[in-house]
Point group: C2
Chain length 238, copies 2
Amino acid sequence: MPYQLYYWDGLQGRGEFVRLALEYSGAKYVDVARTESGMKDMLKILASKTEPRIPFAPPFLKDGDLIIPHAANILFYLGPKLGLAPSEDSLRYVANGLQLTITDMVAEVHDTHHPIATGLYYEDQKPEAKARAGDFISHRIPKFFTYFERVLTRNAGKHIIGDALSYVDLSLFQLYEGLRYAFPRATRNFPKDYEALSALHAAIKRRKPIADYLKSNRRLPFNESGIFRHYPELDQEP
Amino acid sequence: MPYQLYYWDGLQGRGEFVRLALEYSGAKYVDVARTESGMKDMLKILASKTEPRIPFAPPFLKDGDLIIPHAANILFYLGPKLGLAPSEDSLRYVANGLQLTITDMVAEVHDTHHPIATGLYYEDQKPEAKARAGDFISHRIPKFFTYFERVLTRNAGKHIIGDALSYVDLSLFQLYEGLRYAFPRATRNFPKDYEALSALHAAIKRRKPIADYLKSNRRLPFNESGIFRHYPELDQEP
């Protein structure tokens, strides 16, 4: 049975980190909310009165009867099955640690446009968003990216963990791509400042399953409903 | 060799979720940063030029040579070893999904006093903190706690997952305790609004290893350096 991925239609969002792993490995999966009546199915699970283990929010994965929520958790689960996790068991926790650091950075990206309330529009929190984005660009991007660059370089530069491509590398690709989209000015020195990460990003972009996926209509473009949003007024020089 | 837990001294913080699991199970561990020169040891690892897999931030656990960062990841790793995870393998991912939902809520608690910049003082972002805390109290606490109450009730009310106490229950205890400390007004209807969670919280507080730990000097009191901070001006009626 194909994996069933549940995530909001219309945006890449947190589901995209899972999609990239599924696409790269050529796994059979259904992107449920993008099928007819799929959105209804997803909402039905979230509101279910019988399902014993309801997720808090998408994304979640169904593998048979098992429902697994949270992007990092789904990837921890899928990694070994897709051949995208370190073969050594203990290293999988190191991979998960890296993935959770990516998760934290993604949450901070979200908060650059929603610093006060997720339930309000960006337009209702623009001055606060400007302040938070400024701090994110000045302090948080360098802190996270210097860290990832350091780990990558220390691991010989081709993969962030182990000696082969893992789901964490694919997630770093997406993080890099998303930041370039959202903050083109703030990230314009990425190739110079983060050489190893930039090389990794470029290498993944060229890999055939990813190149094919990015050209397909399964890859939605970045947009201002997702996590990585391009609001020119939030962008600034690094 | 005892587990070595690395976390900032002087506050409960994210390290506390790990401590509760270690304490409950009676595991041998060293709270490294609270030993003499331990803080220096921790900073040395974070700045290491030789360690191949440096964590981004505390908390992290050392088990022999293995370094595992992120509270949820540490608990995923320790859970089965401490007898605090579901015995069924697939359920461990469900437990991790719940723990990551707790992680998300904890990050939102942190942002009630630091909505703009982690690097600035609370005093430098008070109006924004007031707005964010207001939204957290009105919308986010009910959303998360209604969810946890629902999962707990559907699992027969005594444990959030499986048929025995797990590290997720201990983390829910801490989350409940921390929110009661930070927002006594906002949470005053907890016993009525969240009966199952309140019963779970009370039951865990009475368990001998936890009761003993809470009385010991290993348990630091909540304070305004941690994640759960009591600033009366941020608290309000539910």
